[in-house]
Symmetry: C2
Subunit: 470 residues, 2 copies
Amino acid sequence: MIVPVVLSGGAGTRLWPVSRKSYPKQFCALLGKDTPFQETVQRTKTLGLEAEPIVVGNREHRFIMAEQLRQVGVEAASIILEPVARNSAAAMAAAAFWQARYDEEAILWFMPADAAIENHAALKEALDQACEAARQDYIVTFGIRPTRAETGYGYIQQGHLLEGQENAYHIARFLEKPDAERAAQFVQDGQHLWNSGMFVARARVFLEELKKYEPTIHEAVSRAVQKTDCDLGFVQLDGDAFSRAPSISVDYAVAERTDRAAVVPSGFSWMDVGSWDAVWELTPKDENGNAVRGNVFLDRARNCYVNSDGVVATVTGVDDLIIIVTGDAVMVSHREQAQDIRHMVARLRDEGRPEAEQHVRMYRPWGFYESLIRGDRFQVKRIHVSPGEKLSLQKHFHRAEHWVVVAGTALVTRDDEEITVRENESVYLPLGCVHRLENPGRIPVTLIEVQSGPYLGEDDIVRLDDVYKR
Amino acid sequence: MIVPVVLSGGAGTRLWPVSRKSYPKQFCALLGKDTPFQETVQRTKTLGLEAEPIVVGNREHRFIMAEQLRQVGVEAASIILEPVARNSAAAMAAAAFWQARYDEEAILWFMPADAAIENHAALKEALDQACEAARQDYIVTFGIRPTRAETGYGYIQQGHLLEGQENAYHIARFLEKPDAERAAQFVQDGQHLWNSGMFVARARVFLEELKKYEPTIHEAVSRAVQKTDCDLGFVQLDGDAFSRAPSISVDYAVAERTDRAAVVPSGFSWMDVGSWDAVWELTPKDENGNAVRGNVFLDRARNCYVNSDGVVATVTGVDDLIIIVTGDAVMVSHREQAQDIRHMVARLRDEGRPEAEQHVRMYRPWGFYESLIRGDRFQVKRIHVSPGEKLSLQKHFHRAEHWVVVAGTALVTRDDEEITVRENESVYLPLGCVHRLENPGRIPVTLIEVQSGPYLGEDDIVRLDDVYKR
């Protein structure tokens, strides 16, 4: 029995402004119809594995994960929530401790939620070989045979074949991202593999090695799992305990230090979809080398990646650019500078610009909202409430609200009244009234909210009751 | 007595997406606080001239012209409206005929509304010299001594000094935009001047020469002026007559053919603000050669022009780009390709994209509106009504409307009722009701309109009464 563990902790700032801290890349459909997270949670089914995946992700993203699982019809065995981001060693430890409560000999297949994988037959073969080694208590990683001199990945130098194994090798050493010359050498010598970040290991073995090399992480996560709070279908790790774990990648914490590390070389198509140049690589192109998505108009452009989920992006007489247009930010970069976008995002964040980390569309457990316009003393929002969901019972001290329902049927609580508001009907919520919005129906409610008042901050809210326990 | 004539007929597609047919460049403040149109109508006052300017412009822009004149406190002698665009010869003829009704010997100073001029003392000196020649019945143009090998302008080759003139010369010939080599030669030889498009001539003289070389234009515009309809403060040229005039520039129609042409060379600073590279030239730059306007964030950019009147435009690791962000379009071009943006706009228009010619903000005689969001069966608009103005009395067959006033006080007619709607109040207009929106107050009304219905096109409107006679 193999238990898949999907690691969904990345922030993906190199894919800004589509990917942001509040809604990072693994949840963004940049290539196909499904998001990388959805591709990953479905991979186990694609490969014919029986067990449902354990998902480990940031607490902030819990409702996004739940919604994206629902969309593709995958039921996670557990959704383990990290109260703070503590890198891959702690995230993997959380899943291992969780699984070990039931079966510490279980073989876990850890996979980051942000890689693009094709050729599932080759993947399945590699997985079988990795499990074979994991049964002999190895911590096994997948090494991808390089097809180009990539400088954006880490590498693994392959050692000798392990005794009794068909295709599992000792790891000679892990190598950081190389320069172009060394990368070219690695492709040639046939001894170096891309480090995919996927691992297969028994829960017990992983935890033993973690305890040996990083006892602080082991201790902190062990306590965090003991004190979990299971609520609304999520496994919430204890925040005090978990935050004591140092933030270290599994490579540094365990894989580079343990003598139980092994690597299975394989030739399946694997790509870290971590930057816009990678997205350009993976997207079909026109005869001029341009890859586009969304509302785009090209005129004498070459080798560009252009993506707009909003207004029309027109491009004329340029080469090798990345141009991204979203509802609240435009980003233009040279394709060869795509790795450095994160530095600009860090600068944006340091200057206190909300676009750095927040999206204009804010996801909430009940649906989402987005601000359409903000003026002096007024703001207009679009609010989307999923069927069966309800917002908190709340009141405001500084604003009145007009709600116009434009799709679906809403049930509105206003002080002592309960009002059914249909499409093309409106309701007025005077300043100070206690109110709640609910969608009792079978289709989403779309509502236009016009706020009026001298102060319109999100913090002017008193929550009197909330089904999502916020 | 010199009568200034401001020619405001350009379309300015090279400055797309800020400049569009519905709101072209002369009305857009790209450099200073005032628009080129406003700079131009104020120039006569700056130079100490007494006469108020005659303005000639497209009928579609009449309320924009009136509003922009009002903003800078200039009262035009007349605003002459072209029912269709017929290039500069016909536009100048219209002003000449109009002035000739009162005084055919009047000296007219024609100036396009889209040039940036500095050094007013030198301009005044050139104007005095031009008037001196115009009094001797010359049609005088201003030639600017070139300061660089500009390939984007037409040139004038200067001939011999006119008898009795201090600084007015025969024109040897007009020259089209040269290639770089010839442009460099023109700068060196000291005989070539930039063609500024400004002219000074007696009304009678201009019309005599027009009649000689382009009798069809003379005849058509003469009739169009005879049949003008003066209404709401505008001089509306007769459409049938005016549209019979061929669309020819004054250079081709008159200046290159008449032996009365003269040129006054001058050294005042003049620039045709016709393309984004010119705007970059004219805008102050940072130490890396970048010029920005609006909501812009630069990171390792060089020699770029970036302008956003909307969401943040972030730029990283690129050189020599033009990046323009507006509420409904993004445009990225190489700076050296800036002249070719018009070809892309033509392609956009041919593909039926509304962004090619229409702005998201639509100006109306009573104010403006803009669409905030358009969904399935609903649309949200922001409507701005200037003090004292009123929309037409109207009704719709396919939509109901919710109006929420968020600033000012509106007077709403709804069938037989008259309702005063204050800030933070709303009114519902059911499908089919006859309604009107009016601002009886002293400050603007801002109103959020939520439309609901199966068809939301602008053409679902029956106008029962309209103070602006649309």
